[in-house]
């Protein structure tokens, strides 16, 4: 129980701390600022949904940042050439899925550990993105796709950007999938004890490909959102985002050894980092201060988690 609410306590602590530090809690906690924070965190949060699946199954994916860049370029190219936002959206999401399938096949068919397979993809996807974008940004016509992740939606009743709502809905859906579907439980089984899962007749290889492909859908959607925020496809964007995504999952209670992790926790983890960043910006602290603080927070969050685990099992 404590495990479940601990990330929430952390989030509350960050918010209260910065509300006091900025000396203007009404501004830090205002709806306007909340919109900024949420719009900033959507990409990380979408990535963290996919990454939770992978980390729970005892895998890892280092190619997220490159996958986001590649899908943002693909989305922009399709949008530019067809002017169809729907086609562009579908192309982006499916490109993410395809990258996941290739990762999954490299892990299962070539027997390469996930760390290395996706490290390779980190380079390949980035390279392909620059190649098909001709090493330039890809400008797109104005469509509703550009409205996906705006901080202040044109329809005021929406309150938050459409992508924020989409992320919330998808997160809830994936919570149900992980908890109440055979697929979800097998993801946990795989991460908990792969040999046992195999001995029980589960097609472990197929399951792994399915996990990386499903996660890829979310990375693709994150790429579409990235394109939407920048209003262009940029092959050099999102460098190192995979580390933020992994950090979100881990702050939310995920274990890199598999078997543990939750979508809800990962969402809170993403928010913790977003509020930290935003708070530092409001304080007018330099970028490097943010980097140091977030680095420390990641280590402290995991250390606290390990400490709790050792207390409960001893």
């Amino acid at each position: 129980m404590i495990k479940r609410i601990a990330p929430l306590i952390g989030l509350a602590a960050v918010i209260v701390l910065f509300a006091l530090l900025t000396g203007a809690p009404e501004r830090y906690l205002s709806a306007a600022n909340l919109r900024v924070v949420l719009a900033q965190t959507v990409i990380i949060a979408l990535g963290a949904i996919g990454m939770t699946l992978i980390i729970v199954s005892a895998g890892i994916d280092l190619s997220v940042g490159s996958a986001i860049a590649l899908t943002s370029v693909v989305t922009a190219l399709v949008l530019r050439d067809t002017s169809s936002p729907i086609l562009a959206l579908a192309a982006g999401v499916l490109t993410g899925c395809l990258i996941g399938i290739v990762n999954g096949l490299a892990i299962t068919l070539l027997r390469v550990v996930p760390f290395i397979a996706t490290l390779g993809m980190l380079g390949v996807a980035r390279g392909v993105a620059k190649w098909i974008a001709d090493q330039q940004t890809v400008n797109v016509p104005r469509t509703w796709l550009n409205e996906l992740a705006v901080t202040f939606p044109s329809r005021a009743w929406m309150l938050f950007a459409p992508a924020v709502w989409l992320t919330i809905v998808l997160a809830c859906a994936m919570i149900v999938v992980l908890r109440n579907t055979v697929f979800g439980r097998r993801v946990f089984a795989l991460g908990s004890n792969e040999a046992a899962a195999r001995a029980c007749g589960i097609h472990v290889d197929r399951l792994k490909v399915a996990i990386y492909a499903t996660a890829g859908l979310f990375f693709g959607l994150a790429g579409v959102t990235q394109m939407s925020r920048l209003r262009q496809g940029d092959p050099t964007v999102a460098v190192g985002v995979e580390l933020d995504v992994i950090a979100a999952v881990v702050i939310g209670g995920g274990s890199l050894r598999g078997g543990e992790g939750s979508i809800g926790g990962a969402m809170i983890g993403a928010l913790v980092m977003a509020f930290l960043r935003n708070g530092c910006q409001q304080m007018g602290w330099a970028n490097y201060v943010q980097e140091i603080i977030i680095g420390v927070v990641i280590v402290v969050a995991v250390a606290l988690d390990r400490y709790r685990a050792s207390r409960t099992t001893a």
């Binding site: 579907t181 439980r185 004890n193 046992a196 899962a197 543990e260």
Partner: protein, 458 residues
């Protein structure tokens, strides 16, 4: 089930050579042999080639993060359109648990919170859920205490009565006789002899297992003849050692040249006591070591005892690398390792990587590390568990030699014949309390068991 002429090779080594093997429905069939004889390989072949076989490995294979019910029905979860039917899942798990009168296990508990014995029941339930007609059990009692073994045997008899065939692998001959009717002995990948257990003596079985290499019986009261008179030097004095909740106020003295055995049930606090003495578990009380070095042999060979990826030489010399100014002296290391290999009859070269060795040889490497360390007080936790008879007798002989040369030795063991064979004095641990150490001759198996399972009378 009949197998004829099964062979299997790994690279150049022949693991199985033309093996025949039969099991009848409802039969408990003992598969006996030294480590490396091909038992596990044979089980794997059976599990791979015959449908409807459940294989319960020596190391339990459950998913600790999943619930009891999810584990029992893993791979065959009741579902509608991909959605888990949790009520039905739990109901089916409950039905299976009820067959073993274990309605006290909640299907919603995460398996990581169960005891080892209970986890084994979950594995057996899983075999039943799979409608297995043949269950393979590889050393199922190696981590169970006696009461749980009785319970397991009751379950096995129930399974057999339902017509399920069981292949039972064990090193313990008494256990095999208790549960099995027929047996097959494997040696060096061939089946040597099969038949009914009632028509063969233990000596004949052991001879079939080891061939003509060790004709003498390797267990029994043969190694120690010294009397347990008071010795002048206490090498280790432990007073009021406590490490709650598993250990309370343990006190004893261990003398040079003495082997003190600690008997007791698994979980009674024996391992915690050794770990507390060695400083691995925080404790209160006093530990006096008289100008002596301590050496510790963990019961967890793969997890703590050895660095499996390293060579035999690295493992043996790791506590005292021969070096000059920080540079390893590789020739000296090889020579010193070779000495230990000869001494303990380890079947390996100094440069062999340790994971490639059989369990018995790995255990010898772990013991060799203590010998090379030149420690004066040896704390040995289950020094001969799960290894074959040949390796066991080598290890017992070496322990006796060490004591004869003046080392002080503490042995924790769950195997009573082992304690009677090598110990001068034996003390029994029960529920975290250590009884008085008395000469081995004053104990009987019955009195030890009584002390171990007795109430708080320690």
């Amino acid at each position: 089930m009949k197998l004829r002429g099964v062979s299997r090779r790994f690279g150049a080594t022949i693991a199985l050579d033309n093996v025949d093997f039969d099991v009848e429905p409802g039969e408990v069939h003992a598969l006996i042999g030294e480590n490396g004889a091909g038992k596990s390989t044979l089980l794997n072949v059976i599990a791979e080639t015959i449908p409807g076989v459940a294989h319960i490995h020596q190391e339990l294979s459950l998913c600790p993060h999943l619930t009891v019910a999810e584990n029992i029905l893993l791979g065959r979860e009741p579902a509608r359109r991909g959605f888990l039917l949790r009520d039905e899942l739990n109901a089916r798990a409950r039905t299976l648990l009820a067959e073993f009168d274990r309605t006290d296990i909640d299907p919603n508990t995460r398996v990581m919170h169960l005891s080892l014995a209970d986890q084994q029941i979950i594995e057996i339930c899983r075999a039943l859920a799979a409608d297995a007609s043949l269950i393979l059990m590889d050393e199922p009692t190696s981590s169970l205490q006696r009461a749980s073994v009785e319970h397991l045997f009751a379950i096995i008899r129930r399974l057999a009565a339902r017509g399920i065939a069981i292949v039972y692998v064990s090193h313990f001959l008494e256990e095999v006789r208790e549960i099995a009717v027929r047996y097959t002995v494997l040696r060096d990948g061939r089946n040597v002899i099969s038949g009914s257990l009632s028509e063969i003596t233990d000596d004949e079985l052991i001879r079939a297992m080891v061939g003509h290499r060790h004709p003498e019986r390797s267990e029994g009261p043969l190694l120690r003849t010294t009397s347990a008179t008071e010795r002048p030097f206490a090498a280790l004095r432990v007073t009021n050692l406590s490490a709650p909740p598993r250990l309370h106020h343990a006190s004893f003295e261990l003398h040079r040249g003495e082997i003190l055995g600690i008997a007791g049930l698994i979980g009674s606090g024996r391992t915690e006591m050794i770990r507390a003495i060695f400083g691995l578990t925080p404790s209160t009380g006093s530990i006096t070591v008289d100008r002596s070095r301590l050496g510790y042999l963990s019961e967890d060979r793969k997890g703590e005892g050895l660095a499996l990826q390293l060579s035999v030489a690295d493992n043996v010399t790791i506590t005292r690398f021969p070096s000059r100014l920080g540079w390893l002296d590789l020739e000296a290391q090889a020579a010193q390792t070779h000495e230990q290999i000869e001494r303990l009859r380890i079947k390996a070269l100094p440069q062999t990587r340790t994971f490639a060795l059989s369990g018995g040889n790995q255990q010898k490497v772990a013991l060799a590390r203590l010998l090379h360390q030149r420690c004066d007080v040896l704390l040995l936790d289950e020094p001969a568990r799960g290894i074959d008879i040949g390796a066991k007798s080598d290890i017992y002989r070496e322990i006796a030699n060490l004591a004869a040369s003046g080392k002080a030795i503490l042995v924790v063991s769950s195997y009573l014949p082992e304690l009677f064979a090598i110990c001068d004095r034996i003390a029994v641990m029960s529920r975290g309390r250590l009884g008085d150490a008395r000469p081995a001759s004053e104990w009987t198996p019955d009195s030890i068991l009584e002390a171990a399972i007795g109430s708080d009378a320690a």
